[in-house]
Symmetry: C2
Subunit: 459 residues, 2 copies
């Protein structure tokens, strides 16, 4: 008798969980169907890229984007749409960037360059000096002041091509861009030229953040990126004539911090309104392209999650918030400010997801979670198998959402196919036409499905 009871119970339990499973499977199927048939993300991205364009933190165009974002969220009929004030650094590229290799008196070849974000300008008449090529900080240090003083340091380290995860290749090399000017200036260099972080050989210079760190103002030197083809050219010229001169002229400038805004829109939870789930990306972008992949894609995918929920008449149990982060390019300033205000208001963040790896075909998610949480999340993997987005892993990194770390908040990141990302990242090629509609929509559907599961199950 006892056995029979257990068996009955097991069957009941099994049926219940089976039907719950199939309800979730059905809901996720609807999310994907809606996203692939009716999503607004591609249309939104078109406007953001082609009608607004590049939106550097602190510029008027960035505030045009803020106004657009708020208006679009208002159209989604959310429970609340509001702005948060955030002070952001302002750096402006200026009106000219120009460089050439002077191979002999009166003979020169132009090469494509762009100032690195945060760099000081050259004198208005430009900067002309000899060049020392190095591949690492170690090589730089070993050359020492004597060989560096008065010269351009040309950091010509190529992105390693053999890593399948191109973000690993990026991490491997980004410090040269970020710290190169600081290290070279300490040895008396007059400027630095950094090979663009790009896996292709092409003519597009790729910008990106740099920092002078502890270097006093009067020791700072201009820093520019050179296209990968330009770097190959300069290097081969130097191998023929290491006395040649390089000429650089740029009028970028740092300004005092200015006011910008995070944009927040939310659907209030019907059952646990105090449990907050955040989805976001950074609204700012570099100025060379239109910030289509970085991070227009993340912005419109985040908006799409709320749009899909509204269109499917899904009432979340928990509060779902989209946050468009402002601040430096990766949204850290906006992220810090958002977390600060959340703390002040004693808000409980259950889960935060960032989409900032381009509008490419999604492959899965990475999580910053404890072992138990990750075990629970891994139970959801099967829901994503039919959509080829079931690669789940652990990660820890600094991002727009990482200031929410702590209090059991799970952080999560969309993972996409990364092969093409650095063809566009921080360059003039990061435009709307480089985004594939389906790949973008699949990313949005994947995020919406994960958020749906977090909302249903909690953590």
């Amino acid at each position: 008798m006892k056995y029979k009871f257990q068996i009955c119970f097991f069957i009941l339990f099994f049926n219940a969980s089976l039907s719950q499973d199939s309800i979730h499977e059905g809901q996720i199927r609807e999310i994907y169907d809606y996203a692939l048939n009716n999503a607004k993300s591609y249309e939104w991205l078109d406007f953001l890229c082609n009608q607004i364009g590049g939106r550097m933190a602190g510029t008027l165009n960035a505030e045009r984007a803020v106004r657009w974002g708020k208006n679009e969220l208002n159209k989604l009929d959310l429970d609340k749409v509001y702005l948060q004030n955030v002070m952001v650094p302002k750096w402006v590229r200026g009106s000219f960037e120009y460089a050439s290799i002077i191979t002999a008196p009166g003979m020169s070849i132009n090469v494509p360059v762009c100032a690195l974000g945060g760099s000081i300008p050259t004198p208005s008449y430009g900067l002309r000096a000899q060049v020392v090529e190095v591949k690492s900080f170690h090589e730089l240090e070993s050359l020492g002041k004597e060989k560096i003083k008065g010269k351009f340091v040309f950091f010509n380290k190529a992105m390693p091509k053999n890593l399948v995860d191109t973000f690993s290749a990026y991490k491997n090399i980004v410090d040269i861009r970020y710290q190169g000017a600081r290290k070279a200036a300490k040895l008396g260099a007059v400027g630095v030229i950094v090979r663009s972080i790009n896996l292709r050989l092409d003519d597009y210079p790729h910008t990106g953040n740099m920092s002078y760190g502890d270097i006093p103002n009067n020791m700072r030197v201009p820093a520019a990126a050179i296209s990968t083809n330009g770097a190959q050219l300069l290097s081969s010229m130097l191998s023929l004539n290491d006395d040649l001169y390089f000429y650089l002229k740029q009028d970028c400038k740092n300004y005092p911090e200015v006011l910008s805004h995070n944009i927040i829109g939310e659907i209030k939870g019907s059952k646990f309104p105090k449990d907050i789930i955040v989805i976001g990306g950074h609204l700012n972008s570099w100025d060379l392209g239109d910030g289509a992949h970085d991070d227009g894609a993340g912005i419109v995918q985040s908006m799409e999650v709320l749009n899909i929920f509204r269109q499917l008449n899904y009432s979340p149990k928990r509060t779902i918030r989209v946050v468009m982060f402002t601040g430096q390019k990766n949204g850290l300033r906006g992220g810090k400010r958002y977390a600060e205000i959340a703390k002040q208001n004693n808000e409980k963040h259950l889960f935060a997801l960032e989409s900032d790896v381009g509008g490419f075909s999604p492959r899965g998610f990475s999580f910053e979670a404890d072992n138990n949480q990750f075990k629970n999340i891994n139970n959801w993997q099967n829901y994503f198998k039919p959509y080829q987005t079931d690669s789940f892993s652990l990660i820890k990194k600094e991002s727009a959402i990482s200031p929410l770390r702590g209090n059991n908040t799970v952080l999560s990141y969309l993972r996409t196919d990364s092969q093409r990302y650095f063809d566009y990242h921080n360059a003039a090629t990061d435009v709307f036409s480089s985004v594939n509609k389906r790949e973008l929509e699949l990313g949005a559907a994947s995020i919406a499905s994960l958020i749906y599961l977090v909302d249903q199950y909690g953590l």
Copy 2:
């Protein structure tokens, strides 16, 4: 004592298998490193697309491609390079294709069309008729002779967008293109216009094979594809005025079969030379683009496998053969002929792999294998995890290698991210610039790694 012995044996065995594992892991790492740093596939594809171009079966350009393929294989220092004679159908597009919607007397709008492969021409003065729009064969049949006779049938069924695997979406709809003319002709239609099989809305018509089946010559009608934008336009015009006329003019033509060639290159196995492993793709392509994804990618990836083995000084235990199949676009004619000759020569084919899904980011492989074989193959999945190519599944389909079916031969197919495939498939957009170098090379590395494992382990 007995126990101790068992434990020792277990440890020895465990160590041996561990070190074998790490040898294979190391070798696969080398394969990927070589492919991403030094592969020739992208350069080969550039030549095949930009110097040779479209290579329809039976054309002189197809034979230029044969000569190129043979020459390139000869440069790889293989043990044997040779051709096989294959008779192939010949169909030529001719010199003009033109269509317009005649909205009122003297008023017309041009729409982009292309003849379907195998279609007969229109009269030289073109074909002018009213249009009946249908979405399925069922709808066609239900309209019947009375409503179809003397008109164009316009098959306007869009590719379903909600399927993540776009090849499933293709399978769902391709029969309309293939059989549409046959079915419409039986009801007295004068011609058929088929909506292009393309997930995007754009201006490129997509060609593809069609068949008249059992329809006698005098009942056959011309068949053309219209671009997706053109289909949308025609449909909305028809909704305003269903009496409008459509005008089509094309001078494509079927010719008698001609002689073409499979190209074969092989490295002889050092230990089991009679065990043959085949890797291949189809060398022919449609004529609208350059056949970059379909199937230039498969051709150069197959060549790359032998190149990588040679460059890494890897001497396979078993005979590794690359086959560039000729014949109709999907290589079936060449495949049948290859299998026929293999049978005549009593060759033992252990494994055959086809790459014919575009030069996109690889995701894994599908296999036609029995349960035991598939179980063995699944043990290799872990080798592919670091390269994100570990999705293995079973499949059964007709392909260039399917005539090798039987005798325990395992058939295998590269699987790629399919989101962008139908942006290019059978259209003028299938050109070299639509292929990403890294994605192409990762495909080659994945294939080479699988072939390496088959060679090492057998099946």
